[in-house]
Symmetry: C2
Subunit: 337 residues, 2 copies
C-alpha cells in the first residue's frame, strides 16, 4: 500500500490513536530520521544482535525548555544524556529506545528537526535507536514535547567502577568548564539580550570515559547534569561517608558563565553540564589520568580530593576561606534537561 | 547519613532537581516499591545478569486518564503494556526501566500508590524494574503523571513470529472480549453514573502467549491496545497485502460494553483492550490453538481468516451484510493508555 504523503503541519490527537495518522507520523518523521538495520517500526519488540560483555542498562527523561538552544536541542540531549550515563558506568553504548510525549498542536516541522537531531547524535555516538513509541496528549497536558530514552550497552571487562571503590586521598578531576549547559539554557529561556557566544556543552563524554578506562586506579565517573558539579560531589559524600575538598581556583568555569551567574544570582557549581565528566582516581594515578584526558579535553583539571577528616563537600575559596557545598534544596532552574 | 523522613504531601519542582528532595523521593517512594536485587537507584547504569537467548527490546509510553480506574491504574498498565509487547513477540519479559514525568503539585500519596502498583504488577509478571528516572515539570506542563517503560526479554527459540509468516487461509483468534479497557476508562472519565461491574481487562497476556508458542503453525500475535481489534487487523492487512474477513457474531464483546458503545456512539472493535491478544495461526493448527488457549482464556474465539480476495478488513455483519473496518482516522478516545 503506497504511503500517503503527510500534509498536516501540526500534531493532532489522532497522531496518537494507533491508526493511519500515527502510522504516517512514525513512517514519515521518525523512521527516516532514525533509520538503522535493527529498527522495525512495525514490530511489537525487536531482536538485538548478540552483545559481547556484561549488559548494562540506563534510562533518562528529558523536558528541557526551550526545546532548541545554542549548542543542542532536546533531541540531541536525549541521546547524549543516556549515552553518557552508560559511558561513565564503563559501558560502550549500543542501543537506545525512544519515547515521545507530544502536545496536540505541536509543529510537525519542529518534530522533524528534533527527530533528525536524535538520528544525527545517535549515529555520531555509534548507537542505534531500535524501538520507539509516541503518545499525543491534549493542549496544555504537556509543554511541546518530552522524550525518554533507555540505553543498552556492554560493560568493558576492565571497568570496575563505583563509589564503593573510592578511598580517602583519591583525587577528583573534571573534564572541562562547568555550568555551560545551565547558563546557556537560562539565557536562551530568559532572553536577557546577553547571549554572546555562550553555548551548551551538550555532547557525548564517551571518548573521555573510554580514555580514562585505560587508567589503572580509576574509581568512579559521573556526568554532572541536574544539580551540577556540587551535586555529584554530594553524591560521593552520601555514598562513601567521606568528605570531598575542592579548590575553587582549580575548577574551570568560563568567564561568561561566571558573569551570568553573578548577575542573576546563581552558583555555577550547581548548574548542569551536559558534556563533562567528573572522575575520581587513586592519587598515584592522577597525573596519568590528567595527561590522558588532556589530549581530548584540554581544559580538564584536578580540582580536589576525597577527605577522611570531614563528611561534607568543602570548597576552599579563592580568598583562603572555606564554604560548605550542601545538597540542593530548592530548584534554581527547573527543566534544565 | 540517616535518611530524613519525607514529610511533603505534594510534589514540588525541587523533587526533580537532582538534590536532597529528589534523592528522598527516589529512596522513599520508588526504591521500596520496586525493590529487587538488580535495582540500584544510585548508579548511572545497572549491570544485568546474563540473559540466555536472543535479546528483545520494546518501549511504551503511558498517559491514561484517569490515572486510576476500575481494574487497574497507569502504574500497572505501564508494566502490563510493555510485558505484553514482549510476550506477543515470543519473548519472556525479564527487565523493565521506568521513566516518570510528574507534575508539580501532584499528590505524593497517589504517586506512592502508583509506584506500589508498578512493583506488584512487575513481581506478578516475573520482571524486575532495574533502572528509573523521574522528571518534575511545572503545573500545567503535564497532567498528573506520565510513565514510560522499556522492556528487555529473551526470545524463545521456537518463536518464529511476524506478519511475514502470515498466509491466506490462516485463522484469526482473539483471547477474550474486546473493548473492556476502552469502555471502562471512558466511563471512569465521564462519570456517566452507569458503572455497573465493568472493569478494565488490564492484565498480562504472557500466559496466553506462552501457551500459544507451543503450537506449530502459530504465525503472529499482537495485543490490541490503542485502536483496538480493528487496528490490529488493519496492521495485518498493511503488512501482508492480504485482506482479513471477520465474523461479527463470533467476536466476543460483553453486553455492557456493547450497551455503553451504542449509547455513546463508539464502535467496540476500535476500543482498546489491555489484557487480550489476537493470534494468527495456520488453518490446520486452529483447533489445537483454540483448545490450548481456552484452558486459560475460556472466552477466546475464532473470529475470522486471512483472505486473499481482498485488501481490506471486512466484517461479516450479524445481518448477513458486509462492512469495511477502515484504519482509524480521528481519535475517539485520546489518552486511553
Amino acid at each position: 500500500m503506497p504511503a500517503s504523503k503527510m500534509r498536516d503541519t501540526h500534531i493532532a490527537l489522532a497522531h496518537g490513536n494507533g491508526g493511519r495518522m500515527m502510522r504516517e507520523l512514525i513512517e514519515q518523521i521518525f523512521a527516516p530520521a532514525l533509520a538503522n538495520p535493527t529498527l522495525d517500526t512495525h514490530a511489537d519488540a525487536v531482536a538485538l544482535p548478540r552483545i559481547a560483555g556484561e549488559l548494562m542498562v540506563t534510562t533518562d527523561g528529558f523536558t528541557v525548555q526551550p526545546l532548541e538552544f545554542p549548542g543542542g536541542d532536546i533531541g540531541s540531549l536525549a541521546v547524549h544524556g543516556t549515552v553518557n550515563d552508560l559511558a561513565v558506568a564503563g559501558a560502550t553504548p549500543l542501543y537506545l529506545t525512544l519515547n515521545a510525549f507530544i502536545e496536540e498542536g505541536f509543529e510537525i516541522a519542529c518534530l522533524r528537526r528534533l527527530a533528525e537531531s536524535i538520528g544525527r547524535a545517535a549515529r555520531a555516538c555509534g548507537v542505534a535507536v531500535v524501538a520507539g513509541d509516541t503518545k499525543v496528549v491534549g493542549r496544555g497536558e504537556c509543554d511541546g514535547v518530552y522524550f525518554a530514552t533507555t540505553g543498552i550497552g556492554a560493560r568493558r571487562q576492565d571497568a570496575q567502577l563505583g563509589t564503593r571503590h573510592i578511598r580517602p586521598g583519591d583525587v577528583v578531576l573534571v573534564s572541562g568548564p562547568v555550568g555551560d549547559h545551565g547558563a546557556d539554557v537560562m539565557l536562551a529561556r530568559e532572553e536577557f539580550g546577553m547571549r554572546g557566544d555562550l553555548r551548551s556543552d551538550a555532547a557525548s563524554v564517551l571518548p573521555y570515559a573510554q580514555a580514562l578506562l585505560s587508567i589503572n586506579g580509576l574509581r568512579f565517573m559521573r556526568d554532572p547534569t541536574r544539580g551540577g558539579l556540587a551535586t555529584v560531589l554530594n553524591d560521593i559524600v552520601n555514598a562513601t561517608g567521606h568528605g570531598v575538598r575542592v579548590c575553587e581556583a582549580a575548577i574551570p568555569i568560563r568567564d561568561q558563565v561566571q558573569s551570568v551567574c553573578e548577575l542573576l544570582g546563581y552558583d555555577p557549581l550547581y548548574l548542569a553540564c551536559e558534556g563533562q565528566l567528573v572522575a575520581v582516581v587513586a592519587a598515584t594515578a592522577a597525573d596519568e589520568a590528567v595527561e590522558v584526558l588532556r589530549r581530548l579535553a584540554p581544559e580538564c583539571a584536578r580540582i580536589g580530593r576525597v577527605d577522611e577528616s570531614s563528611t561534607r563537600v568543602v570548597l576552599e575559596t579563592a580568598f583562603g576561606g572555606e564554604r560548605v557545598l550542601d545538597e540542593l534544596e530548592d530548584d534554581p532552574l527547573p527543566r534544565i534537561c
